[in-house]
């Protein structure tokens, strides 16, 4: 009998109080870009790890779609190698692999050829019979954004997208970047929503799959002692750093188009900012959490015009230097980088939030390539003491640091008396290390996010209005720094924390960047 909402009114008596996790419904997952880098490095290893932990439905299949000509057997062999290389669980357990691989299929073809989708439909129909996947589909677009429109249109034309509530489910996972600017993001959203309902769209930002990012929600809303001081009355400012020691590797072509603002700020860094600054959601469900994040993005003070941007934003580009004792090339010397490129590889910004909670509290964010080390962290700097009993400058303000990667954890800096001396304070750190407190290795971000997509839980995926609100902040900055007359990004030596002007951004306010 077709599903009706009345059926939901009777509670599932077997679900009540069950401690076992819900396993996803039977499903066939289609990976567009099945022979690509993301499928090799992340998606298939994550799916295999989920299978190993018995998290996947027994009735499950993966169909890879790409131009490369593979047979099913060749695709399985290729993925077996990828899993062996990139899975966090080694060695590959052959029995589990054999079971998982039995559900791997491949469909070769071009995304702009409707014939590919007819072929895909036939494969999926067959999979429904042989793997009992019951017509449920998860389409994963692990392809360049330029291919999204044609894939979505062809999926629709081939009748592969079901409407919500009408028969088996269809979900679509989209990889960032979600557009190139506000205009293209809106166009992409319009296109996606012509084909699917928002409830079927899963825009993936892998930062949200990280345990420590999710822990931020638990830390803030699962403890009663932090929320009362999490506001302008007690917090002087917030610093968010997302740096990595790597350069652009072999991704010169992508990076020339993207730059640091599109690659990191519009998505990952603003997500960290949202989770730090948001109000408690009314419930822990997808829309309630995302509603609060959108409110933060809407409350961000936009920068208008070159003067404001130049006052609050510093962009840089790395030059040759040394990282971890190894000489590395500068950005201009990297492969596929245009001569005289003005693409920024570093940005530091002072952001302000117009809200009762955060009025007057700057959020300094910075992100860059070729930093001295890989470090992503959020540092909440609390206010100075109103009056020091131990002499001027004897105590340092408290700092709470949430380390997202590496060495995930939380550190609280506070003052303690130096033993033996008369009331001489010193700053000490109380350190909580996630990996030590919860010893087992955490699942990869993609494992969590794929499982959520299979379950239909959108909490950790970005919503249409969230993406557009983030672009509303970034767009005016891009317009200024990408204008033909805009000055070139400031050079900084690889292995440093960006150009000196980034330090001045804080020094003007009597502050300095934390050394992660």
């Amino acid at each position: 009998m077709p599903y009706t909402q009345e059926d939901d009114e009777v509670q599932n008596p077997l679900r009540v109080g069950l401690r076992a996790e819900t396993s996803p419904e039977p499903c066939a997952m289609v990976v567009f870009g099945g022979s690509g880098d993301l499928a090799h490095r992340k998606l298939l290893p994550a799916l295999y790890n989920l299978a190993l932990g018995a998290h996947l439905p027994g009735a499950f299949a993966v169909v890879g779609v790409s131009k490369s000509e593979y047979t099913d057997q060749e695709f399985r062999a290729e993925m077996r190698e990828a899993v062996g290389k990139f899975s966090r669980i080694k060695p590959v357990q052959e029995e589990a692999w054999a079971d998982f691989a039995a559900g791997l299929r491949y469909c070769a073809g071009s995304f702009d050829d409707p014939g590919t989708f007819e072929k895909l439909k036939a494969v999926l129909d067959e999979v429904d019979q042989t793997r009992a996947t019951r017509g449920n589909r998860l389409f994963y677009l692990a392809t360049p954004p330029s291919t999204f429109p044609v894939i979505l249109k062809n999926l629709k034309t081939a009748g592969l997208i079901n409407k919500v509530g009408e028969g088996p489910f269809t979900r679509v996972v989209i990889e960032k970047p979600f557009g190139h600017d506000l205009h293209s993001a809106r166009a992409l959203n319009t296109l996606v929503l012509e084909v699917c309902d928002e409830r079927q769209v899963f825009r993936i930002d892998h930062y949200l799959g990280k345990e420590t990012v999710q822990n931020l929600l638990v830390f803030r809303f699962g403890n009663s002692i932090f929320e009362p001081i999490w506001n302008r009355k007690y917090v002087s400012h917030v610093q968010i750093t997302a740096g990595e020691e790597l350069g652009i590797e072999q991704r010169g072509r992508y990076y020339e188009e993207a730059g640091i603002l599109r690659d990191m700020i519009q998505n990952h860094v603003l997500q960290l900012l949202c989770l730090t600054a948001m109000e408690p959601p009314v419930a822990f469900d997808a829309d309630a959490v995302r509603d609060e994040k959108v409110k933060v993005l809407r409350a961000l003070v936009l920068m208008q015009g070159p003067e404001e941007v130049s006052e609050r934003v510093v962009v840089g580009q790395y030059r040759a230097g040394s990282v971890f004792g190894v000489d590395v090339a500068g950005y201009p010397e990297e492969k596929d980088v245009a001569a005289g490129s003005k693409t920024p590889t570093f940005v530091a910004m002072k952001l302000l939030i117009n809200s009762w909670r955060w009025d007057g509290v700057p959020f300094y964010v910075r992100s860059g390539k070729r930093m001295p080390k890989r470090a992503t962290e959020i540092a909440i700097h609390f206010s100075e003491l109103p009056h020091s009993l131990f002499g001027s400058g004897a105590t340092q303000p408290n700092v709470l640091v949430i380390r997202v990667q590496p060495e995930e954890g939380i550190t609280l800096r506070f003052s303690a008396k130096v033993p033996g001396e008369r009331y001489r304070p010193r700053s000490v750190s109380m350190d909580f290390r996630y990996g030590t407190a919860f010893g087992a290795s955490s699942p990869e971000a993609y494992e969590r996010l794929l499982l959520d997509a299979l379950r239909g839980d959108q909490t950790l995926f970005t919503r249409k209005d969230e993406v557009e609100a983030a672009w509303r902040l970034v767009d005016p900055i891009l317009r200024v720094i990408e204008a033909p007359e805009a000055p070139a990004p400031l050079p900084y030596a690889a292995g440093t924390w960006g150009p000196p002007k980034a330090d001045q951004l804080l020094a003007r306010d009597g502050r300095q960047w934390r050394r992660p």
């Binding site: 009998m1 599932n12 679900r15 401690r19 076992a20 932990g53 990996g435 919860f438 010893g439 087992a440």
Partner: protein, 382 residues
């Protein structure tokens, strides 16, 4: 109380085992000496003086073999729930009266951190010192979970249930009648956890998942009868599964039926008793648990005209739904790998109080089996 300690110096259990220090006490236990051994073993192992501990995991056994059977599981579960591991081995009939303390730092496989492992083996009259000694060795502030390695009965068990935040047993390794005793413990509020309960999670999850499928939700309101078929004579897990269904669907007529024992590799107690030998080899591939006599072979429940059948097929649970107007429906889930400590780690997710669903399931299981409500408290005779 005076304590005569005679440190036996550093030694290891195995050539590649952890550094272990031991001391023997003829009279009482010198806790300062035990703590000094902990500090020494940390120092010699180059470990920091402090370590994160989220719970005290105290296991109680009545033979060295009983301890060895649980050791790998406890250490593996502690990789996920960092614990101070304290194992008590009480052998009152063995002479002479003495306590041997063995202290080691162990690093569970796949874990980033080391754990303190303290084993106190008491023989003869020295058994009476164990309780006060363990109190002095607990990490403060964090929950106390007792893993009970003997028969789930007796005054000592009841005392442990009163002082622990959780008391974990494995009714799956015990005779069916054990559930009557467990029901009585639960009635007096004991925070009992049961590895046998964690063992049937996949059956429960799959049954619940079926009724969450959009086209099968219509059957939720019409659940009637259920039948649990076992491999050979029914065991406690089958009774728990039947009890669970009966408690969730009170109007349903639930029965437990003995099936063929042909597929069984051993009795559950025998198979699980051989755990360390079979599962201690950490390089071995984890497979789903073997099918043992008494295990659940099939769960069948009806919501006319639909019939739901869940059947175990090696490492996979296969569900079939017949009689639905959409036609036959198939659903499969892979059973979780039988890794050491998996069930214990699941039980340790709940660190205080009772699992109300388990309480109701045990109550119904005892009723279905017409079990007496347990025996009166008597001194523990493992």
């Amino acid at each position: 109380m005076t304590a005569a300690g005679a440190g036996t110096g550093p030694r290891t259990n195995a050539p590649d085992g952890p550094l272990e220090l031991a001391a023997r006490f003829e009279k009482g236990i010198d806790l300062a000496k035990v703590r000094a051994l902990v500090a020494e073993v940390r120092e010699k192992g180059g470990l920091p003086a402090e370590e994160v501990t989220t719970l005290n995991l105290v296991s109680i056994h009545f033979s060295q073999g009983g301890y060895e059977r649980n050791r790998a599981s406890m250490e593996a579960a502690s990789a996920l729930h960092p614990a101070r591991l304290i194992s008590l081995i009480a052998e009152p009939k063995k002479e002479p009266a003495a306590v041997v303390a063995r202290v080691a730092m162990v690093r569970p496989r796949g874990s980033a951190h080391a754990l303190e492992r303290i084993v106190l083996t008491a023989t003869g009259a020295a058994v009476r010192y164990l309780e006060s000694a363990v109190t002095g060795l607990l990490a403060p502030e964090v929950p106390l979970v007792v893993l009970w390695g003997g028969r789930p009965e007796g005054a000592l068990l009841e005392h442990a249930a009163d002082s622990a935040d959780r008391l974990i047993i494995d009714s799956g390794t015990r005779p069916l009648a054990t559930l009557g005793t467990v029901a009585r413990l639960l009635r007096r509020g004991a925070p009992v956890g049961d590895l046998a309960w964690a063992r049937i999670f996949p059956w429960q999850a799959l049954a619940a998942d079926l009724l969450d499928l959009p086209n099968l939700r219509e059957h939720r309101a019409h659940l009637q009868g259920a039948r649990v078929t076992t491999v050979g004579a029914p065991g406690p897990e089958a009774a728990l599964l039947a009890g669970w269904f009966a408690s969730r669907v009170p109007k349903a007529k639930v029965e437990i039926v003995a099936g063929h024992a042909g597929a069984a590799v051993a009795t559950a107690a025998e198979a699980r008793a051989s755990e360390p030998a079979k599962r201690g080899d950490e390089a071995a591939l984890p497979r789903s648990e073997p099918v043992c006599e008494g295990d659940v072979q099939e769960l069948r429940f009806e919501a006319p005209p639909a019939v739901f059948t869940l059947r175990r097929d090696k490492g996979i649970l296969v569900a079939q739904v017949d009689g639905d107007d959409d036609g036959a429906v198939l659903h499969r889930v892979r059973l979780p790998p039988d890794a050491p400590g998996r069930l214990l780690a699941l039980e340790l997710k709940l660190l205080a109080g009772q699992d109300e669903i388990y309480v109701a399931a045990v109550e119904q299981a005892a009723r279905l089996l017409a079990l007496p409500a347990g025996t009166a408290a008597h001194p523990e005779r493992p």
